[in-house]
Symmetry: C2
Subunit: 190 residues, 2 copies
DNA sequence: CTTTAACTGTCTATCGATAGATAGATAACG
DNA sequence: CGTTATCTATCTATCGATAGACAGTTAAAG
């Protein structure tokens, strides 16, 4: 065997992630994916029985990896502004990398076509991100109530996803930069 | 003949619009569309030779209708806050109507799969909206420079699109409401 | 140590469904 | 009659998914 199961699993996940971030869940095809990693489409079904399984695994991994990175940030610095700068940089780098989008953001747009198991994972991504932003905000605004913090965090998350979406649609990363700058100057983002 | 060309044109546009707002451009199919309006898929090609033609017509109409409504708003009241309230209400009503999205927002997510003629129209939608918000902001902040106003307007547009996207992904319109409220309380939206 | 058995990963071939698109016939309107 | 709108029928391409075969690997049995 050329590759172990784990290796192929990873290769498939990586290729699938790139495709979804660039063209969405609907554009993800077993045939194209197979060609990219050098096997046949039937073999992809060996690793991921259904497309829903692949999509859910993809979103779950994406959320986990993100959560890991965010936890590191939170442990590195106590400064809310510094954390948020790093956070907005994550979404910026997706755009800088072939005009890609947040995997869960693009899946949210395709919501109605997602299998239930994928929807669940997409929801968890939003939850995880809002939870992290809430903890960052708690440092900057210790006086605020938990509910206020969560609403603010959700607003920040949505605003950043929107900045990415619009900048992508205009194929102009400067739009993302300008928008984030405006978020900061109004005080939406610390 | 049961209907005139214009009637059928309108019926097709309306059905297509609903589908795209609910499931995106990729989910738009001539067969389904034909079934919905009671003709055969080949007949749809008579009205719109290619899918790109239909998509572009759809986005153009969407932008035009929106621009017309926005112009009325601007003529009705000089109050920026009132105008922006009406504006956010537009995006809210899409969500309230079967969890739909802004047609151009959802198309931005599918950007890579769009024919060039559709991309052009999607760009114009953003341009039109940002232009309108800029004029509204000019009333509230007459001292600001044109460039500052435009950046602020783009940020508002992106933030609202993002609020819609995230609320849709979570299937919870309350998230939209809370997010808009947060935008207002931080001063991002007048 | 060898033989047998099960497992793993990939293959070929194929299924039914659906996609967008086209050609040519048909029916109705003016 | 000629134009307009829609039809039937069909094409090629692609989709996700499945069945069955086969080679290489591992592990247990004798």
């Amino acid at each position: 065997m050329a590759r172990t199961k784990t290796d192929m699993h990873e290769a498939l996940m990586a290729a699938a992630k790139a495709t979804v971030q660039a063209r969405g869940y609907n554009a993800l095809s077993f045939r194209e994916l197979a060609k990219e990693v050098g096997i046949k489409s039937a073999s992809v079904h060996y690793h991921f029985p259904t497309k829903g399984d692949l999509g859910a695994a993809l979103a779950r991994r994406y959320t986990e990896d993100g959560a890991t990175y965010l936890a590191e940030l939170l442990a590195t610095s106590k400064d809310a502004a510094w954390c948020m700068d790093r956070y907005t940089e994550i979404f910026r780098s997706a755009l800088a990398n072939d005009n890609r989008m947040c995997l869960c953001g693009i899946m949210s747009a395709e919501f109605d076509d997602l299998p239930i198991e994928v929807r669940t994972e997409v929801d968890k991504f939003a939850e995880t991100n809002v939870g992290w932003i809430t903890r960052v905000l708690a440092r900057a605004k210790p006086a605020a109530s938990e509910q206020q913090l969560q609403e603010h965090a959700m607003a920040i998350f949505a605003a950043i996803e929107g900045a990415q979406l619009v900048a992508r649609g205009c194929q102009d990363i400067a739009i993302y930069d300008g928008t984030i700058r405006a978020y900061r100057s109004t005080g939406l983002i610390p």
